[in-house]
């Protein structure tokens, strides 16, 4: 019964994502970003035709990270605004009443929604990210060292944010949950930048801001891990120490411990969302 509910609701959620306007606006934003970046990369090569192969790699990998950040932002916005309305919106409109009066567990419905959203977000990241990597390959002849790991981490980042969106939507209104999720996403990113400035200045308490925020909401940590997979390893060797503060460079790959924490974080947030949803009067 539970498996049937989860798969049915996951399929329904994917169908909703495919049929609603959010997919079309996501596609438009993505195509715009990809074509802009294709144009930018080709201009980069044309304007600075005298790049040595090393310089081209540095430029390519830095700008790639920049564009990938834009992409992850689109994925985060898209899924957060899909995840928010999906629960509280359905409760408000009454759509949830007919569904939940069926012989289904609420937690199974929630997990089904989550699974559908994760599949949607991961699919988006995979397709759009791969397209971006190919653009860079064609225009700059740069191919990142660990593209699959990088895209997978971006997908996990999207999953983390939409899980948070689901939890928020069990408590606040649909629009507010999307806005709060995206706001927190931006706030941790900024906290991450602040933290790396602290690291560069050897100021422990400022550096801790980044560490703590990366624990509370793992999106920024995952983003840094993804960057690390996309950028040219030679870059860090060339750049030396002072470059650690750049928000578009990451010094070290993610640790297994951090990935495990992320997994636990997602599980706990999803569990909390399930408990909140279970207790709610409709």
């Amino acid at each position: 019964m539970i498996v049937r509910t989860v798969t049915t609701v996951a399929a329904l959620t994917l169908r909703e994502a495919a049929r609603r306007r959010v997919l079309r606006s996501l596609a438009v934003m993505t195509v715009a970003l990809l074509s802009l970046s294709a144009w930018g990369f080709s201009r980069l090569d044309a304007e600075f035709g005298g790049f040595t192969s090393g310089e081209a790699r540095v430029a390519g990998s830095t700008v790639l990270n920049l564009v990938m950040f834009g992409l992850s932002l689109i994925a985060a916005l898209g899924t957060a605004f899909l995840a928010g309305p999906t629960l509280s919106g359905e409760v408000e409109s009454g759509t949830a009443l007919a569904i939940l009066a069926r012989p289904v567990r609420r937690s199974a419905v929630l997990v089904g929604k989550w699974l559908g959203l994760v599949a949607f977000g991961s699919g988006f990241v995979a397709v759009a990210g791969l397209a971006q990597l190919l653009i860079v390959r064609v225009t700059m002849d740069y191919w990142p060292p660990r593209p699959v790991t990088g895209l997978a981490l971006l997908a996990v980042q999207t999953a983390a944010l939409l899980t948070l969106g689901l939890l928020l939507s069990t408590a606040v209104s649909p629009m507010a949950s999307g806005i709060v999720a995206v706001g927190l996403f931006g706030a941790t990113w900024i906290a991450g930048v602040v933290g790396s400035v602290g690291e560069a200045l050897d100021n422990d308490s400022v550096a801790r801001v980044g560490t703590v925020s990366r624990m509370l909401l793992p999106t920024d940590g995952l983003w840094r891990g993804a960057m690390n997979s996309f950028q040219d390893p030679a870059l860090l060797l060339q750049a030396g120490s002072g470059i650690g503060e750049s928000p578009f460079l990451s010094m070290a790959p993610l640790t297994t411990t951090y990935l495990a924490w992320t997994g636990l974080w997602i599980a706990v947030v999803l569990g909390l969302a399930a408990v909140a949803f279970q207790r709610r009067d409709l």
């Binding site: 019964m1 539970i2 049937r4 509910t5 049915t8 329904l12 169908r15 909703e16 049929r19 609603r20 409109s93 009454g94 759509t95 009443l97 007919a98 569904i99 939940l100 009066a101 069926r102 012989p103 289904v104 567990r105 937690s107 199974a108 997990v111 399930a274 207790r279 009067d281 409709l282």
Partner: protein, 325 residues
């Protein structure tokens, strides 16, 4: 995600036993109570709906009717009280496998077609319903030619019709309808009435919450009247409405005729119009005998109308006296 608790596991054999009993009622609830902040919405409501019985839930706005229905379906958590649906404890979602529900606030995925909505609910209910039967279900509610259209383009009335189809599609043994005709035109209301009668014929139990007293009076076997979260009256229509009356328009009534009228029941007279209140358990010969005797006494009979205290009058009476006490 959460496995059944130990307590539920130990109750399971008992529940199975209960479900196998021939006459487990469609709905059994006892002592339902719900408080929203400081306001008590439902206070100690208990009733049963027998198999194949149509029970009407009546009461003014805010009496707690919808909250009671939502507690039966596990959509609202009761503060106290127990619910069995078709003999199974309602805490277990599986108790709802054979229950169809049309919510008061009906809305279905606007990005799906009507046929897809039905397919979704059939899947969630865990039953296999062939395509033809699902189409027939849409035909019953008058949506046969809209099966392939997206729900987003449906009018309110059409969405309510779709909601009826959703409630009926998974071969329910109990159908709970919360204001099923609120968005329907008079024709649609008549359709719903026919639908309810056909459910009754198929021995499907129905719990009907409706403001339309005429609707309830025509189809319901029993009525529960809720007021301020409590049951203020319940019973079969005959029990609730109790006395019948007969109104006669007569000419040439003398003392003997009047005595004969009084013998049949309490008599009220205004001009040439006479109203006799008949006892609740009358036999079918009372009125014809009375008329024959009156004719024998030389009374000229212009009209004889059987009258019944309407449910509406009775409902208002119950609510008003309940409010004053």
């Amino acid at each position: 995600m959460t496995g059944p608790s130990l307590e539920a596991a130990s109750l399971e054999p008992a529940q199975r036993l209960l479900a196998d009993l021939p006459s487990a009622p469609a709905v059994w609830c006892s002592g339902l109570r719900k408080r929203y902040r400081r306001r008590i919405a439902v206070d100690g409501v208990s009733f049963t709906v027998g198999r194949g019985e149509v029970l009407g839930l009546l009461g003014p706005n805010g009496a707690g009717k919808t909250t009671v229905i939502k507690m039966l379906l596990g959509l609202v958590r009761p503060d106290a009280g127990e619910v069995l649906l078709l003999g199974q404890a309602a805490k277990d979602p599986r108790a709802r496998a054979r229950v169809g529900y049309l919510p008061e606030l009906f809305r279905y995925q606007p990005w799906l077609t009507a046929a897809e909505v039905l397919a979704l609910h059939v899947r969630l209910a865990g039953v296999t319903v062939p395509d033809a039967e699902r189409r027939e279900c849409l035909a019953i509610v008058g949506l046969a030619d809209r099966a392939g259209d997206r729900v987003g383009g449906f009018s309110k009335g059409m969405q309510q019709r779709l909601g009826l189809a959703v409630a009926l599609v998974a071969r329910p043994e109990l159908v709970i309808l919360d204001e099923p005709t609120s968005a329907l035109d008079p024709l649609g209301r008549a359709d719903v009435r026919d639908l309810l009668l056909s459910l009754k014929d198929r021995n499907v139990a129905v719990l009907l919450n409706s403001h339309l007293i005429g609707e309830v009076e025509r189809v319901c076997d029993r009525v529960v009247i809720l007021d301020k979260g409590q049951i203020s009256a319940s019973g079969t229509l005959a029990e609730l409405l109790g006395q019948r009356e007969v109104r006669l328009r007569l000419d040439g009534v003398d003392a003997r005729a009047e005595a004969r009228l009084s013998a049949a029941g309490r008599l009220t007279r205004s001009g040439d119009s006479f109203t006799v209140a008949l006892p609740a358990e009358q036999d079918s010969t009372t009125v014809p005998d009375l008329v024959a005797d009156l004719v024998g006494l030389g009374v000229r009979v212009h009209s004889v109308e059987p009258g019944r205290i309407s449910l509406e009058e009775r409902l208002l009476d119950i609510l008003r006296t309940g409010a004053s006490s």
